[in-house]
């Protein structure tokens, strides 16, 4: 059985693309293996090294112990809030082919209402867990308030890791997909991007 990831895109509420996301990246493998490689005791600081969205090496802490200090801790968070284009689901206009070592979208469309920008909404998560199939889905909507067309050619998933002990607050790209054909978002139009991960007993 393979765990599948589907990429689903809706424009103005209507599905315009559904296909398998084939483009998870090296960063995801590093962090998943890094968590499993440790004991899970959580009693010492353990980290792996990823490439952050700025292209620099950065530590992602997979275990830590804070004692009596009040600190943040998270390994792989995606639930970026409204207007935050630094992590979670991002969209871009670039068309550079995907490489396993990609660390950023080729050309991210920033949050905003200016020309070439999209208004980034918050995230939502759906899930369902049956005896023979299960899924979890994260999605985010984008609204074009720029006054002109905005063309989307790539989408990505950026994780946030935070460990207040260092301090370390890292954004790292774990998936990037090029769309088979560009999607134009008209003024006041919306785009919703969904990553749906599922498994099933065949």
């Amino acid at each position: 059985m393979k765990i599948k990831c589907e990429l689903i895109i809706e424009r103005d509420g209507k599905e315009v693309y559904r296909g398998e996301s084939k483009s998870f990246l090296k960063n995801f493998g590093i962090v998943l293996a890094g968590m499993l490689k440790n004991t899970g005791a959580g009693d010492a600081r353990k980290f792996v090294v990823v490439t952050n969205t700025a292209g620099a090496s950065a530590n992602v802490y997979v275990e830590d112990s804070f004692g009596t200090d009040v600190r943040y801790f998270g390994v792989m968070g995606f639930y970026a809030g409204d207007n935050d284009d630094s992590y979670g689901i991002l969209v871009g206009s670039g068309s550079t082919p995907v490489s396993p070592s990609d660390y950023a979208l080729a050309s991210k469309i920033p949050h905003g209402t200016g020309s070439g920008q999209l208004d980034y909404d918050t995230h939502n998560v759906l899930s369902g867990y049956g005896d023979t199939s299960g899924y979890v889905e994260i999605y985010r909507s984008f609204v074009n308030k720029s006054g002109g067309d905005v063309v989307v050619r790539e989408v990505g998933l950026v994780a946030r890791s935070i460990d207040g002990a260092v301090p370390s607050d890292v954004r790292y790209l774990i998936a990037r997909d090029l769309l088979p054909s560009p999607i134009t978002v008209k003024p006041l139009g919306s785009l919703t991007v969904k990553y749906r991960i599922s498994l099933a007993i065949r």
């Binding site: 059985m1 998870f24 998943l32 009693d43 830590d64 639930y79 998560v125 867990y129």
Partner: protein, 203 residues
């Protein structure tokens, strides 16, 4: 996106390989998706419930802000003699369903009848392999089991359980379970080595 294979090698008391098999991993469980869900929801104090290996629903949180002594999510490197997580084996043959949280009949660590001596679980991180298409990120969990019980012990199922810690919370969650298509009998004085290779398909 992600797939796995299982390899099992059985040796007799003289170290000779008496059985080897390689099988597609068929049964990642819903608990694995629930970990993704807690990561997806991470950036707040949001709990989701995951059933631990004892059958109790536990709150799990993808991010934390507090004076928390211990923090981990999916530790897999169980130490020597610890049969509560890492790669675990069993004798059960109950059909898999995705909501299972434990092996049907775990073979306990020990040297008594029907038991196996659990060595540590370790992880080999092979990194990116671009020689295959599509390229993959590959890593492998490995654990050996020694049969010091004096009688043959038969393995019919293999699982992977992970350890989650958040302060005093210390839970183990089963994220994969496979019933093997054939039985593997470990003779008295022999051993079994189980490897779980995971490949993440890359762009």
């Amino acid at each position: 996106m992600l797939r796995g294979t299982l390899e099992i090698m059985v040796k007799d008391r003289d170290g000779r390989v008496v059985k080897y098999g390689r099988h597609e991993m068929k049964s990642f469980l819903n608990n694995f998706l629930k970990f993704l869900e807690l990561f997806f929801k991470s950036n707040g104090q949001v709990d989701i419930s995951i059933v631990d290996t004892g059958g109790t629903s536990r709150p799990a949180r993808g991010s934390r802000y507090n004076a928390i002594r211990e923090n981990s999510f999916m530790g897999g490197a169980a130490p020597d003699n610890d049969d509560s997580y890492g790669i675990i084996v069993g004798s059960g043959t109950t059909t898999v369903n995705l909501n299972q949280y434990a092996l049907a009949s775990k073979i306990a660590h020990g040297t008594g009848s029907g038991q196996l001596d659990y060595n540590p679980t370790s992880l080999d991180d092979f990194g990116v392999d671009t020689s295959v298409s599509p390229p993959v990120y590959r890593f492998r969990l490995v654990r050996s089991f020694i049969n010091a019980s004096g009688v043959a012990v038969t393995i019919n199922e293999v699982g992977v359980a992970v350890r989650y810690r958040r302060d005093t919370d210390d839970f183990k969650f089963l994220i994969a379970r496979d019933v093997l298509p054939i039985s593997y009998t470990v003779p008295a004085g022999g051993s079994a080595t189980v490897a779980v290779t995971v490949e993440v398909e890359l762009g």
